[in-house]
């Protein structure tokens, strides 16, 4: 990538450093001069927003760990202690809890942006797969973090999720006990979840580094999905996109701050302010909102399929929903990347977004109500049909609209129109 760099060491010290560890050259190439398509819209600022979210979670998390006690006798009280006694703890804890929701909001927008503009298509498959890996890691991290306050939802969420593994034939029960460190969720479970909850964000950060590396090989996709042809199509990342991303971050922080200061608990569940009790299950176990779509998929399979019982079926469906995301670069083989130039795709995509909102909504509803049960199944069916039927078929039958010849032409054409 050195061809992008105009870096000339300015002083003898810089020259000396450049010959030994070219860190200034590297930063200049990748953080400042990096050629970026000039037509990126605000959907593209969510990458930077996500880096900010990860940073916020790590900083607030390290602080919370200084005051939190991972022991079933003290965990619940220590979180209350943070919220009441620790200097500024009320806000720091709220930023961490609201931050998890903000992280997922940004993640979903980032993923749906990629799905619309075909950012997963060649040559960006690895970039996309790394993104899905990050998504899965963040879900695991968030789940384990939610267990730490040791409220009723923490305990029963942990029970339900670890129970999922018992669906695996033959070794399922052993795996479940291995994960829990006991026959039921208990102190060993809380301890290891705390350890892993502290570790995983750093693994996420490492995969983010790979994700950005994989981004910087082909460069950014863009709203028209036409590859960069020459330097007239691009702008240096700094100051053009550092500024655009900074604005995105500031705007994103407005609702974030509103939640932190005015409704820090609105996204939580009242049952989690009751200490964990292994003898009583809350009437409705509801995961955090960001896991609801997958929870709907998990419980939609309430019937046996051949030799697969309903429980294993649900787990397979949930795993399959992730697998669909991983392999979407090979399911959607349409040459045209951007949904803007795909007249049929657009509609199915819009329906997919609405359907996903439906999946989220259904995750919090009572599944024993027949209408909810049926709607849930319909939403789950469309999720899979979109990936496994609609995308492959559209790739073959759809006639895309004519593409602009270059990014620069599309930008200038707009200006004249």
């Amino acid at each position: 990538m050195s061809e992008h760099s105009t870096y000339v060491p300015g002083s003898a010290v810089e020259k000396w450093l450049d010959d030994r560890l070219p860190i200034i050259r590297f930063s200049k190439e990748h953080l400042m001069d990096f050629p970026t398509p000039k037509n990126l819209n605000y959907w593209w600022t969510f990458g930077a927003i996500l880096v900010m979210c990860l940073g916020i979670q790590i900083v607030t998390g390290i602080i919370l760990a200084m005051h939190y006690t991972p022991n079933i006798a003290m965990a619940f009280d220590s979180v209350e202690h943070i919220r009441r006694d620790v200097n500024g703890g009320r806000v720091i804890q709220a930023v961490h809890a609201v931050g998890a929701s903000a992280f997922f909001a940004a993640l979903y927008i980032h993923i749906f942006r990629g799905l619309f503009f075909g950012s997963y298509k060649a040559p960006r498959e690895i970039l996309w797969i790394l993104g899905v890996v990050i998504f899965i890691l963040v879900m695991a991290t968030a789940f384990m973090g939610y267990v730490l306050p040791w409220g009723q939802m923490s305990f029963w969420g942990a029970t339900v999720i670890t129970n999922i593994f018992s669906a695996i034939p033959l070794v399922g029960n052993s795996i479940m006990e291995l994960l829990r460190g006991g026959f039921a969720v208990g102190n060993p479970t809380l301890n290891r979840f705390f350890s892993l909850h502290y570790l995983l964000p750093f693994i996420v950060a490492a995969v983010v580094a790979l994700h950005i590396w994989a981004l910087h090989v082909p460069g950014n996709n863009n709203p028209i999905g036409v590859e960069v042809k020459d330097s007239r199509d691009t702008l240096p990342f700094h100051p053009y996109y550092t500024m655009k991303d900074a604005l995105g971050m500031v705007v994103f922080l407005i609702p974030f701050a509103w939640f932190v200061f005015f409704a820090p608990d609105i996204l939580g569940h009242p049952d989690n302010y009751i200490q964990a009790n292994s003898q009583v299950t809350p009437t409705h176990i509801v995961p955090e909102w960001y896991l609801l779509p997958f929870y709907t998929i998990l419980r939609a399979i309430d019937f046996n399929v051949l030799f697969i019982d309903s429980k294993l079926g649900g787990v397979i469906a949930m795993g399959g929903s992730m697998l669909c995301l991983l392999v979407v670069p090979w399911l959607d083989t349409a040459r045209v990347r951007s949904g803007s130039f795909r007249p049929l795709f657009k509609w199915f995509y819009a329906l997919f977004v609405l359907n996903f909102i439906g999946l989220t909504y259904m995750g919090a509803q009572d599944p024993s109500v027949p209408l909810n049960n049926i709607l849930g199944k319909v939403f789950v069916a469309y999720y899979f049909i979109y990936f496994l039927v609609i995308l492959p078929v559209l790739s073959r039958i759809e006639t895309p609209k004519p593409l602009p010849t270059s990014i620069s032409e599309s930008v200038l054409g707009k200006a004249h129109a």
Binding site: V160, N163, I164, G182, A184, T281, K311
Partner: protein, 175 residues
């Protein structure tokens, strides 16, 4: 010998390479295993695996939830009507066929002792609820009958009967 080795497609060097790799692989696995095994239930958890419970204080029609191995366990003193109801169900109607006799101890039919976690995803069902007069799981709507057998909903199995025995008429040992 030397010429033969030079000409054959696998030579001494390949063998050493594979053998070294295999030994290193086994060594790595031997090191990793204890690091994973430490996650398994520890000695203090396993030590709590047997308990004794005096059931004499539980009147007919009442359930007591006790803890065994960290899990909630229902000890239900069933009414005669409930036992009759459970016995009257034909096996063909059951998703996980088991007779009432298989789920209780001979001579102690009113006593139903089961792990109180729904076999779907582990929630604790509510007692004396649902259309089968047994248990209803609020999480995903599984329903159990008066013998704790699954009758409806996503749970695949009957509520699990732990290993237990009657030490005397009023004392049970679970585990």
């Amino acid at each position: 010998m030397a010429t033969q080795a030079e000409h054959s497609s696998t030579n001494r060097r390949d063998f050493l390479y594979v053998a070294t790799g295999a030994v290193a692989g086994v060594g790595a696995a031997a090191v990793v295993w204890p690091l994973i095994n430490q996650l398994n239930p520890d000695a203090s958890t396993l030590a709590l695996a047997t308990i004794e419970y005096d059931i004499s204080a539980i009147p007919e029609g009442q359930t007591v939830t006790i803890t065994w191995r960290g899990l909630p366990v229902f000890v239900r003193h069933r009414t005669a009507a409930e036992v009759e109801e459970a016995k009257a169900v034909p096996l063909s109607e059951l998703k996980d066929p088991e007779t009432d006799e298989q789920r209780t101890k001979e001579g102690h039919e009113p006593w139903l002792i089961m792990i109180a976690n729904c076999t779907h995803l582990g929630c604790v069902p509510t007692g004396e609820a649902g259309e089968f007069d047994g248990w209803f799981c609020p999480c995903h709507g599984s329903e159990y009958d008066t013998a704790g057998r699954i009758r409806k909903g996503p749970a695949p199995k009957n509520l699990v009967v732990p290993p237990y025995e009657f030490v005397s008429d009023t004392l049970v040992r679970i585990g």
